[in-house]
Amino acid sequence: MIAELGHFALILALLTAVVQGSLPMVGAARGYMPWMSLAAPAALMQLVLVALSFAALTYVYVVSDFTVVNVAENSHSAKPMLYKVTGVWGNHEGSMVLWILILALFGSMVAFFGGNLPPSLKARVLGVQAWIGIGFLLFTLLTSNPFLRVFPAPADGRDLNPLLQDPGLAFHPPLLYAGYVGFSMAFSFAIAALIEGKLDAAWARWVRPWTLLAWAFLTAGIALGSWWAYYELGWGGWWFWDPVENVSFMPWLLGTALLHSAIVVEKRDALKIWTVLLAILTFSLSLMGTFIVRSGLLTSVHAFATDPERGFFILVLLLITVGGSLLLFALRAPVLKPGGLFAPISREGGMVLNNLFLAAACATVFLGTLYPLFLEAIDGSKVSVGPPFYNVTFVPLMVPLLFVMALGPLMPWKRADLAGVFARLKLAALGALAGAAITLYLREGWPVLPAAAMGLVAWLFVASLVEWCERIKLFRAPLGDSWRRARNLPRAAHGMTLAHAGMAIAAAGMIGASVWNLEEVRNLRPGESMQVAGYDYRFDGVEQIQGPNYLADRAQITVTRDGRPVAVLTPEKRLYPVQNMPTTEAAIHTTWVVDLYAVIGDSDGRGGWAVRIFHEPLVPWIWIGCIVMVLGSFVSLSDRRLRIGAPSRKAKAVPAGGHPAPAE
């Protein structure tokens, strides 16, 4: 009964979306107010219906109603409650409902907060959102209905994959989808602007917070997924350049570019056509990610069962959405009037370089991810594109990006004096030298490249702080004065400093993790120990324990350094009997500078156990950096200017300067 209710609510949501996607659009074209104003209530209605459907699905999971196929295939009565709930989106069908729920949530947020949007723009944005919703509702209802019943019902379910029964992965999909779907807002605004033929500073001011919100979610989602892979898979790795990782990373790269180019549109009325294209492409890549993950197109590692029919459906959806919007772009982009001019050396110039490197990086990942498919289609041969490829193509693009990132915030709009900027970065240059010198000092063997990389990261970090200190005149004015300045500084400025500094921290972690990680594997008997990077690991033995739905061998490893106790690590090797699946649970002790990471392997049957120790310098900084970046976005989002949205349209000044710049 509850399941049918959920199914019914989803159908009603589809009907609501059809109304929301048609009447307001026609109303906006004809200037017919009552039809336009239908959009907002329809969006709220859709949220209510989809939420109802999602609640129904959650309910059947919570009560373990195995008459529902989806529950029987992905849940089990003995599963802890947390994973019964998160199991709702641990499978293809349920995750689609979550996808739609988040889409409806974003739509209703426009309806709710978009009071100051011009009515036609609001109607069109919500209309485009509804089209996306129609596509995914149809997809879910026709090919992936989570509410189907099974008769006779099985006595118990097949359980959720044990690897997914983990807090890190439980919340990874919602964050990731919030990021993917969040970019639909920028997309809808871009389409609406193309239809209206008008894109101005006010438009950018509406788009920026949504993009920032989506970006923050996506950053958090990717970081959480990476963290999960790090501690759960037991290899000490955190990024594998797997297709599924790449498809979430591509929208992140372009979304980051969009975030910056939208600022140029807002402040300087320039780069409009490019920004619209970025908005379309960012969401298109999000859709493509959904397509690739669920179609089985690439041999990749992901939890969803693949089905060519579903793949075909999403491909058609992709053709309509992406093809249609790019066609609209080709036809309508010339209507967007080019705006403010700027010199090559300027804040805008810095943003252009940022966009250049991010777009090139995205193209590189795109090429690497899809090349095996391209080549197979052309001559049937198969190649593997793995981490070694990205190390030589992607990483070099990050070097100029990080370098310019330090300069950008110090450059004024329109025209900057490069010599002056560098003069203000003396401290950062010192920081870079110090970073490189410390690396050379701490590490044996004259590691030139890593030292240069750490120098670059220190350069960015110090430059970000310098810019912030200058703005509040820290140490140049009395402290109280600086405090007042800091409080008066727009929140977005604090946010930017945090985001850039966070990037520097994360980059330092990534460099450390890829250059200096160590792995030792040894067969140890209880009482024996091994040394890794100055730490002493004593293997105390293994005991058998019984978890709620698994059995485990739990090892105890005592870590000491120079005789002083550091930590006791208890890695586990679990067996989940329902799926007859073994998993490894790594034990990690972090000193915030290095992770001590232990995994227990197999017994050799003679009292010895395979003990695997990873020494992972700076890895914690990756997550710290990501947290700081996300924090920065939320600080920015709390900026009054963004919260209030655009000023009234009359107040919008025509950009200064006479000559319109040709669009790119």
Partner: protein, 179 residues
């Protein structure tokens, strides 16, 4: 996620026996330098029955066999390239995580550089085209602005170094083509 599929593949297909862990104690070579070479090399070799996993981190039996083989050949005095060639002869380029540079992969290997260079050129021309007017900004009347926009719009195909007021010939041609 990789281990997830590896495990699933094991359950479903049971292709090559019971799973073992990644590099196991008994595989490790006594010679640390050689072992390091083996580890580095293993990161370049794909476990052909897994999903985008190197043999170094894979728990498949075939990956274990290949790890041992890599070590044996290194001990026997093979160069890194010889070891890779040995595996490519049996499993094709698919076994390499760093695809070989050859005509079929030129687009893959040189694509990123070409895209970046094209991007830099694009940015260069875009910035150069707006450099001149930016140096002498003087407000125009709305009418002048509209006229200029038309001219610029039709002439932006022309060389960016040219004065902002495009070559008449070019703009006429473009206008003709467009209308």
């Amino acid at each position: 996620m990789k281990r997830l599929i590896a495990a699933l593949a094991f359950v479903v297909a049971a292709s090559l026996g019971l799973p073992a862990a990644a590099v196991e104690p008994d595989e490790v070579l006594a010679d640390a330098a050689l072992e390091q070479r083996a580890r580095d090399l293993s990161h370049e070799i794909r476990c052909v029955v897994c999903q985008n996993e190197s043999i170094d981190s894979s728990n498949a039996e075939l990956a274990k066999e290949m790890r041992i083989l890599v070590r044996e050949r290194l001990v026997a005095g093979d160069s890194d390239q010889q070891v890779l060639d040995y595996l490519v002869a049996r499993y094709g380029d698919f076994v390499l995580l760093r695809p070989p540079v050859k005509p079929g992969t030129y687009v893959l290997w040189f694509g990123p550089a070409v895209i970046t260079v094209l991007g830099i050129l694009g940015v260069f021309f875009f910035l150069r085209r707006q450099r001149r007017p930016a140096s002498a900004v003087q407000p125009l009347s709305a009418e002048e602005e509209a006229r200029l926009a038309r001219l610029l719009d039709s002439a932006d195909a022309s060389d960016a170094g040219a004065p902002a007021h495009a070559q008449p010939g070019q703009s006429q041609k473009d206008t003709a083509e467009r209308s």
